[in-house]
């Protein structure tokens, strides 16, 4: 029986403290009324165009992520502990990246195997000895956290490249406040609305140093067909900066310029939502149409800041993940506040043997996969699926890692069968520039199918508003 965020592990109806207000409120609601509100919310999302694209899906090219109107609540004390752990991790991962792209002390000390770095597709050798402003590589991070008990939190993944979902965090709150204003007058919920301001301040703080005027910031998107396009335009809009595509940018006179109605104008900071490989056809994939030829040379010369830095993926690579506790200790000199999930690296013969034997109990993931694509949840799979996956892992063990299947915590969720517990995770969003800025809460993703542990939106997951209570 999984830990329930509202009821704990007890069988009774008693609510845990953070839910002291929500529990009775929920009991007082008619299910019909909740359903009506729920479809109102859906219409609101659709009209606002809060949509995402599912790769490979033909029909309904734009979908909305189902929004569940029962919030997920964290107490101030729970959040304090998470926040401390997240900050520690973000500092350590950035220190790790600085080290990896400079002296590689951690490799010399033998704490992380060198071939795990140099033969890693996420490692960008062109970044060696580049000095990013403030020494930061990953300014915008989303850390995926799961819970299995009252005090049991685990980091499942560090997203140090281009974490998405922050627009849902903001829009979910807007929607909840719009639909249940009276609830917010009863419960003191820490606001999240500062995020766009914080993001802008973070981006400004890492502008190239020799600027004589306010830095000019842009958001670089692959375009309308990208699954997170709504979020790109949302963030540009809330920050009050231009949303550009590669075709709008050009390198001229030694600077990055954008093509405006008045001709070319200089750009200082690029918040890019384009992957490393597509950033610059001169340095990376030559056939890329999404990037800007020459932008990487400008970055190396300190003429423009790219956020997150190229090569930041080395810190969230799934094969690096199992070393993060080591990494935290190595750079901070302290034990990690947040635990990792035990991870079997199939590249290690012992681990591989264990994984092949216990596959039906494990969650197996592709090292370079994301979005819930290319993974196996052993207990939820048929024996044929497990056998097929076993063959894949045997053929290319270095491409896979495995973890025990965790009993993710649940939270009451409005389902077709009424209000029922569903499994969830949490992605808090951190900004790191002149200082650390952590928005209280984050994005709660919920697996809407009964018993499912996969919360990804591409796999039928939904989202919830996440409340951190004020003291």
């Amino acid at each position: 029986m999984a830990f329930d965020e509202m009821r704990g592990t007890g069988k009774g109806r008693r609510c845990r403290d953070p839910y002291a207000s929500i529990g009775p409120w929920l009991d007082g609601q008619q299910e019909d009324e909740l359903r009506r509100k729920s479809s109102q919310a859906e219409a609101l999302f659709r009209r606002t165009g809060i949509t995402f694209a599912v790769y490979g899906a033909q029909e309904a090219a734009e979908r909305i992520i189902p929004f569940d109107i029962i919030p997920r609540v964290l107490s101030a004390a729970e959040w304090r502990r998470l926040a401390a752990g997240i900050e520690q991790r973000v500092r350590a991962l950035n220190a790790f990246m600085y080290d990896i792209y400079h002296r590689q002390e951690i490799l010399r000390a033998g704490r992380v195997p060198a071939d795990l770095i140099v033969r890693n597709a996420a490692f960008v050798p062109e970044m060696m000895n580049v000095e990013p402003p403030r020494g930061i590589y990953s300014h915008i991070i989303g850390i995926d956290i799961v819970r299995t008990g009252e005090n049991e939190f685990f980091v499942l993944e560090d997203n140090t490249r281009t974490p998405s979902g922050v627009s849902y965090m903001l829009e979910n709150r807007e929607t909840m406040m719009h639909m249940f204003p009276e609830l917010f007058s009863q419960v003191r919920v820490a606001p999240v609305e500062r995020y766009p301001e914080d993001l802008r301040a973070t981006l400004e703080s890492v502008a190239p140093v020799q600027l004589d005027e306010d830095p000019r910031i842009v958001v670089l998107t692959p375009g309308q067909h990208n699954s997170a396009y709504f979020e790109h335009s949302f963030l540009a809009d809330r920050m009050g900066v231009e949303l550009v595509e590669g075709q709008d940018l050009v390198v001229a006179d030694g600077y990055l310029k954008m093509k405006t109605t008045k001709g070319l104008e200089r750009v200082d900071v690029v918040y890019r939502r384009v992957d490393d490989d597509y950033l610059d056809p001169l340095t990376f994939k030559a056939e890329s149409m999404l990037g800007v030829p020459g932008i990487f040379e400008l970055y190396r010369a300190g003429r423009v800041t790219i956020v997150n830095a190229p090569g930041a993926g080395i810190a969230d690579d799934k094969s690096i993940y199992s070393y993060v506790p080591e990494i935290v200790e190595f750079y901070t000199g302290r034990a990690p506040i947040l635990k990792n999930v035990h991870t079997y690296n199939c590249r290690r013969p012992d681990d591989l043997a264990y994984v092949l034997e216990h596959m039906a109990e494990l969650v197996v993931k592709e090292v370079h996969g994301s979005g819930g694509y290319g993974m196996l949840v052993g207990p939820a799979s048929t024996s044929a699926e497990v056998a097929a996956f076993r063959a894949k892992v045997k053929a290319e063990p270095e491409r896979y890692i495995a973890q025990p299947t965790l009993a993710l915590s649940t939270c009451p969720t409005l389902t077709e069968q009424g209000i029922a517990p569903r499994h969830l995770d949490l992605r808090p969003f951190v900004l790191f520039g002149d200082r650390m800025r952590l928005t209280p809460g984050g994005l709660t993703r919920v697996a809407l199918r009964k018993g499912s542990l996969v919360v990804n939106s591409s796999q039928g997951g939904g989202t919830k508003d996440t409340w951190v209570l004020e003291e």
């Binding site: 606002t48 405006t260 109605t261």
Partner: protein, 313 residues
């Protein structure tokens, strides 16, 4: 502002204006063929010509049947000028520029797009068609109202104004050009040869059917109709009114960017000409030639605006 943004704003407004104009042309044509002694064949031919897609229609169809024309102009996604295609294109442009437009504008456009497929059924039910025309007009009005009420008066506003009024001027001039022969003074002398239903159709096509009587206070006379639709500054769809807005938007841009443009001078020249012209001279010079030159000049102005403001660099 990005050049691409300016381009998208211009076309977003142009496509919304076009969607409404195509719907109105269709509505007027539909009304006309219900009258006795009118040939649907001729009317649909000239409607398609005005919409600029007669050739494309004939590639796909051989006869001008009402149901086919309605389908082609309202629903056909292969026809870039159909109302459906226009609303989709406007929404695509708006979606690419969510950051430049207001939430109200986006929601007006996006909810029209969301409802579009559900409305298609109405296009196939003759009795439902008038309600569908009303709906398109309402959506267009809602979008335009949201724009005028919420948009900042800066370059964003000016580029959308330019898109709206360049398209509107083009549409009004085409309506006249396709039926210019009905407006020639000799037709009035011939008298009775052409039925006043045709003249009323021209006025209805530019939403000027009722207002005409308030301005001219006599029966439809061809040169009054031509005067109203070309030169009268009171009619919001007249060529002159369109150029009042175009010149104002270009002057606004010049001021906002602190730089005069040749496009502004060109628009000022056209406005000056429309303000000083009279119908006698225009008829003497040839109405068809006048309209043909106007349409060409209007389209050259659009290209000049695109070049001046780096729409496609």
């Amino acid at each position: 502002m990005l050049g691409r943004t300016a381009n998208d704003l211009f076309w977003m407004a142009r496509y919304m204006e076009r969607a409404e104009n195509i719907a109105r042309l269709l509505e007027v044509g539909y009304r006309l063929i219900l009258l006795p002694h009118q040939s649907g064949e001729d009317e649909w031919r000239s409607t398609l010509k005005t919409a600029g897609c007669d050739a494309a229609y004939l590639e796909r169809h051989t006869k001008f049947e009402t149901s086919r024309v309605v389908d082609f102009l309202l629903l056909d996604r292969e026809n870039p000028s159909s109302v459906t295609s226009c609303i989709e294109a406007a929404r695509r442009n708006a979606r690419a520029q969510r950051t430049a437009i207001t939430r109200e504008m986006w929601e007006a456009l996006n909810s029209a797009w969301i409802e579009l497929d559900g409305r298609a059924r109405q296009a196939r039910e003759p009795n439902e068609l008038p309600a569908l025309f009303d709906w398109i007009r309402e959506r267009s009005a809602l979008f335009r109202g949201a724009l005028l009420n919420t948009i900042l008066r800066n370059d964003t506003f000016y580029f959308t104004q330019l898109g709206t009024f360049i398209e509107r001027a083009d549409n009004t001039a085409r309506i006249l050009d396709v039926k210019y022969y009905m407006l020639l003074p000799q037709n009035e002398i011939v008298g009775g040869g052409l039925d006043s239903a045709q003249w009323a159709t021209i006025l209805r096509s530019v939403s000027a059917h009722r207002s005409f009587r308030w301005v001219y206070r006599d029966a439809f006379k061809p040169w009054h109709i031509a005067d109203f639709v070309i030169l009268n500054p009171q009619l919001p769809r007249s060529l002159r009114s369109c150029y009042v807005e175009i010149a104002a938007a270009l002057a606004g841009l010049s001021e906002y960017y602190c730089a005069d443009s040749d496009a502004m001078k060109r628009a000022d020249g056209t406005l000056e000409m429309l303000s000083q012209a009279d119908m006698v001279t225009i008829f003497q010079r040839g109405l068809h030639e006048f309209l043909r030159d106007f349409i060409a000049g209007n389209s050259e102005l659009a290209s000049e605006i695109a070049a001046t403001y780096h729409f496609n660099d």
